[in-house]
Amino acid sequence: MGVEGIGARVVRKEDKRFITGKGRFVDDIKLTGMTHAYFIRSPHAHAKVKKIDSSAALKMPGVVAVLTGQQLVDDKVGNLICGWAITSKDGSPMKMGAWPAMAPETVRFVGQAIAVVIADSKNLARDAAEAVVVDYEELPAVADMHAAIKPGAPQLHPEAPGNQVYDWVIGDEGAVNAAFSKAANVVKLDVTNNRLAPNAMEPRAAIADYDTAEEHFTLYTTSQNPHVARLVLSAFYNIAPEHKLRVIAPDVGGGFGSKIFIYPEEMVALWASKKVGRPVKWTGDRTEAFLTDAHGRDHITHAEMAFDANNKIIGLKVKTYANFGAYMSLFSSSVPTYLYATLLSGQYNIPAIHAEVIGVYTNTTPVDAYRGAGRPEASYLIERLMETAARQLNVDPAQLRRTNFITQFPHQTPVIMAYDTGDFNASLDAAMKAIDYAGFPARKAKAKADGKLRGIGVSCYIEACGIAPSKAVGSLGAGVGLWESAEVRVNPVGTIEILTGSHSHGQGHETTFCQLVAERLGVPISQVSIVHGDTDKVQFGMGTYGSRSAAVGLTAILKAMEKMESKAKKIAAHALEASEADIVIENGEFKVTGTDKAIALPMVALAAYTAHNLPDGMEPGLKESAFYDPTNFTFPAGAYICELEVDPGTGKTSFVNFVAADDFGRLINPMIVEGQVHGGLVQGIGQALLEHAIYDANGQPVTASFMDYAMPRADDVPSFNLSHTTTLCPGNPLGIKGCGEAGAIGASAAVINAITDAIGKNNLEMPATPDRVWRTIHAA
């Protein structure tokens, strides 16, 4: 490792612009003649749109147009799609209710757009929107999942009788039943995984610019995956063909999954830009973010785990209801199925697993992937079950886990996943040592003397990242391949541009990706730049989510680097009159090994572009590209232990210590990895203690602002104690597993396990608000 190579704690290159206010986000972009869009949104959770009268609005100053859902239909703009086909246990395809970008007829959640005002300024558009008179006929609404599947419940979509999207199963039910029939002990648990609002710092935004002469669209948008946006917008929505649509995702202020999806607003902006002949900008506000950004989680699960007399798990059965909201968002169908149930084996050797997942429509905001996406729900369930089992079986929770850890790899679980490597005991050892697990009983006793209830909670998570082998996900219903692409351009003077299909919206790719180049070529990272987020510049890409950018995106860069280096070595060998096999790359030079003969990278690059003296038959230039398709998922795993105190008078939780021992494989930049873990842990703690997107019985959102929706603040969380135990991922040449989601996946179970340990009652739902904890303590 050089000072800027792999493993170095290099300060982030991108931070200078972010911390000096020089970032360039969508809303910073202003185009000549730009108009502003303001969406008219349904105040009702379920209603017929009887009439939209925009006559008064159209006469108001600065108003360019008022466009409605019916006009989208008239222009044959396609409905939003869901890109992962799930098949129910009866063999039928999932039931898709039509989701038009603006509703021409029926609205199914508060905040659904029905029309848009285009005006010279945002304020004028908003003024005019208030003058648009909409006549609604309210329909009965249902927000609660269990209410939605009851007979006689209000029905959302004619395509989905009983509001059921699918009833999907995985695993061997017969084997599970056989295991339960011979179980020495059975542990049962009901858990709710609370609905979350993603709340990226930057709200979603879009600017669409239609060039009438070229019949070409440019879309600036807050996307984690601009190429996928272009693909979906052109292939399904009938707005623009791919070669006439450029999608740019400039600096993006956080995504957490919510900016993977293609939303109505960017579709409408594109379409409206052509209709009005001017650029159209839409910038969402925080209320719109709460109402329309895809929410996360929202599961209700009953699970039973069977143990033999030696406390070995012999079977697991799970039944989960997953709330999808009013419509199926882009990747929503995969989250509670292939991203959730395939991880139900956790870190444990479980010979038989069966899970049933029932997807439900409700009159709420659509739900899709949110940091972790299915894996936090699985990890939370398994780790709550393990803690419950330890209490019921009266064994130490850490020991119960050790008794059941998978220790031989590769390990084929009964739910598709084949774990490639790991050392779960090592992570747990590290976490227990860091928190002084053995000393806990004494600390608990001392806290008790001070009137505080102290608890400790373990969570041993595993996740599947590096999404994903294209062939495998294709066989499971995915509509896209999940490889990544990259290009390496060595310029004639030796500076290097890396073009990547990954997209950085906080991850620090502009630093970490340069570190790979520094490692391989021995050049400073200042000589390297990263190009991403523009479909006109980068050949293709699947974007950033699922902790995939290092394991998949960086490996694609490595593949392109290897090709470039191979050609550069040929040029160097030719110039140095040496054998190609004797050329090594060190400190930015191509050297003949064992001699002092060398040629610097800029001279090799210049030779490639002058082409005055290249090996016979070689093409000029020094630029290579590669696609990389992983052979397996990667499996980051780790052990989190949380120690906390509960104030019995108020139910308030205070952290004493939080230790995280993660196995992410090779780390490119440990400082950035720590930042990712910190952020993930805070989101996991936020889910456990604070965050909950709530609707009333009529589908009205109760938590549509930060006055009601509790986001974690710095003083809500402890200072974290992090460490790493490493097994290299055998599936990619860099040995990387991924670190973006781990904290959010593992933290919430550790917190709830610790609180329930503290208060001596096992049943406690998230978020464990002081009120809820206090009531649980004092419940009869």
Partner: protein, 266 residues
């Protein structure tokens, strides 16, 4: 935000006359409530009259047993004021846990009590300390000033100029913060006057806004100690209930916060 006309008044008299000229005028103090509400288009005053730069509304005075805080003094200036810290440290503490630094630099005591948010901190201090609200027209006892949710004795166009607090023998404030808004989920201010009277006020708890808590006052009058409150029973009837706190929980918090406020009182 709807269009509005902004005026910066340089005196109370000018503010009064500007207010009268507008068709639907609003006074602006620190803007911590009015401005967010205007940005959300939930309020659309024709004229906004800024009181924040009026010199006669700024500052703190300690005279004998009376601490006077002028209406447009910011929380930060109250929190850091030597006279406040010396005379009524519980007010300095209350201000230090009010909102966040941005709020404390802008928000004012006058703005807080004029708005009378049922979860605001200052109304509890005024009520428990038996403060007097001074306006450009009259003096109003705190007991008469707060009249329910977002409702006060202020008449249209009346301006709070100062709040005067009798310096107590002891006073303390504790609150449970609302997890999202950081207002008081429930906060309790306890005070013992120099003549031995006990006054206790709870904010964030009642459906009718800040309130005295007679049962706790009686218990503390008999015995000024946290344990005196152990046997007090607080009814959940009439208390606020929302996603962050049931009425029963708030009833419990009134007791627990009162006990902690007594323990912290000085």
């Amino acid at each position: 935000m709807y269009q509005t006309t902004y005026h910066r008044a340089s005196s109370v008299d000018e503010a009064v006359s500007l207010f009268a000229k507008g068709s639907e005028s609003k006074f602006l103090a620190g803007g911590q409530t009015l401005l967010p509400v205007m940005k959300q288009r939930l309020a659309g005053p024709s004229d906004v009259i800024d009181l924040g730069r009026i010199k006669e509304l700024q500052g703190v005075e300690l005279s004998g047993d009376t601490l006077t805080i002028k209406a447009a003094t910011t929380y930060y200036d109250i929190m850091t004021n030597a006279d406040v810290k010396k005379a009524i440290p519980a007010i300095a503490y209350l201000t230090s846990v009010l909102g966040d630094p941005a709020v404390r630099y802008r928000g004012t005591i006058g703005g807080s009590i004029a708005n009378n948010d049922p979860a605001a901190d200052f109304p509890a201090a005024l009520l428990a300390l038996g403060a007097t609200v001074k306006t450009n027209k009259r003096s109003i006892a705190a007991d008469d000033f707060f009249q329910g949710l977002f409702t006060t004795a202020l008449e249209d166009g009346e301006i709070i100029t100062a709040v005067s607090f009798p310096v107590p023998a002891k006073a303390g404030y504790e609150k449970m913060r609302h997890p999202a808004s950081r207002f008081a989920l429930t906060g309790v201010f306890v005070a013992q006057t120099k003549s031995g009277e006990v006054r206790v006020a709870a904010t964030g708890a009642s459906q009718t806004g800040v309130m005295r808590v007679g049962a706790i006052e009686a218990a503390l009058k008999a015995n000024w100690s946290p344990s005196a409150i152990d046997s007090v029973s607080i009814s959940a009837n009439g208390l606020l209930a929302d996603i962050h706190g049931t009425a029963e929980y708030r009833a419990n918090l009134i007791k627990v916060m009162a006990q902690r406020a007594v323990a912290a009182a000085r």
